[in-house]
């Protein structure tokens, strides 16, 4: 959906780019809009960009709802995805 952002956990950063873990899917996003975000932080991800830092508890509650609703909308129409960052190799 066009204006929906979902939480992801920052795994690593390299200049303006970052890899986030979205419940097991790793995506490469831009952190130009969240320049203070560091590995371990949670960010809201929209259309391949981090747009806000959020607390872990709030992020987990959001994911809990998305999963209970039976559909994680991030993959519904691709409107807010980043690019895949390769297969997941280990747990974050």
């Amino acid at each position: 959906m066009m204006c929906l952002a979902v939480p992801g956990k920052l795994i690593e950063c390299h200049e303006d780019l970052a890899t986030v873990d979205l419940q097991g899917n790793r995506l490469r996003i831009s952190r130009v809009l969240v320049p203070d975000a560091r590995p371990g932080d949670w960010v809201l991800v929209h259309a391949g960009f981090g747009i806000a830092r959020i607390e872990e508890q709030d992020a987990l509650e959001t994911w809990s709802y998305l999963q209970s609703a039976g559909e994680a909308p991030i993959f519904e129409d691709g409107a807010m995805n980043g690019e895949p960052a390769g297969p997941r190799e280990h747990s974050p």
């Binding site: 959906m1 809009l33 969240v34 929209h46 391949g48 806000a52 129409d77 980043g82």
Partner: protein, 374 residues
Amino acid sequence: MTESESTLIDQIRALTRRIGRRVQYMEVCGTHTVCLFRSGVRSLLPPELRMISGPGCPVCVTAQRHIDAALELATDRRVIIATYGDMLRVPGRRGSLESMRAAGARVEVVMSARDALALARSHPAEEVVFLAVGFETTAPATAAVVAEADRDAVGNFSVLMCHKRIVPAMLALLGDGRSALDGFLCPGHVSVIIGSSAYRPVVARHRVPCVVAGFEPRQLLLGIRRLLQQTASGLARLDNVYPVCVSPAGNGAALKLMREVFRHEDAAWRALGVIGASGFALSERYASFDAVRRFGIVLGCDEDHPGCLCGEVIQGLAEPGDCPLFDRACTPMRPVGPCMVSSEGTCAAWHRYRRTPPRPGRGGRRRKEPSCPW
């Protein structure tokens, strides 16, 4: 539905009874529209409480002139169109991007503005035009890639600017006076960028309550309850039930970037007409990335399909069931109006989540439609 959500529903019903009249709130975000349906919250609201879907679906409010400009660009053999998937099927005068792609035009669906810029980098001999659609949640991404393209001198990248600002549209709706509204449920993720204080002019000028809310059922219910509490007490305030993500000032980095790359300009909205300072254009420093300028596109006029009520629907003046085309000539598989094209359009949401009885005189069994592709 958790216990606390049940309690919220009870409180919402009690407050609505206490107000003792019909109450109308507008959600100005297509994502809120879909979440209200999908979560079941909408079906639990009392009948006297009406949630109206406003002009919050970016695909739906994109003016015909911009759809036609995109289609004209797609006929240029040098051009690759990069677009979010929602725009693919919006009908214009000469078809849709999807039909033009089937006829040989080069149209690529991207998931991020970054993908569009990457496409330009990987196709240096061709021109990549990104259809920049969306409200302030999505607009900073466009600003970021335009700044990056400028920095790296990516000369074959440009954007067709269709980005819109939500607050001027809210003010225009209230100024018009035709939509009788008791308050706004303000979009959570647009507000992450612009900050909750961006709605102060709406409250101050029109004394209409504004409540920022997120997208989970509890957030929707908290937002609606806060609106009802204000209405019941005769108050008009700015409230934010989504402070974990939305600050009063918004995302400073995003706002700074948008101020550098964009400027405000009067923008044409489908059905609403031209609203002052309601759109983003590229600032003079970045104007060379404007596809309209680069390709000499002459923006035409806006004509809606005869009989289509999308314009009235996005102003809250009609419901999809009032439209003679809805679920007959206009379905998600064969959309006529933009509100049926976009997965966040009000008509598509009604088609998907809510069944309306056939209108008198038209009778007959509802034709079974193939499942919605979204």
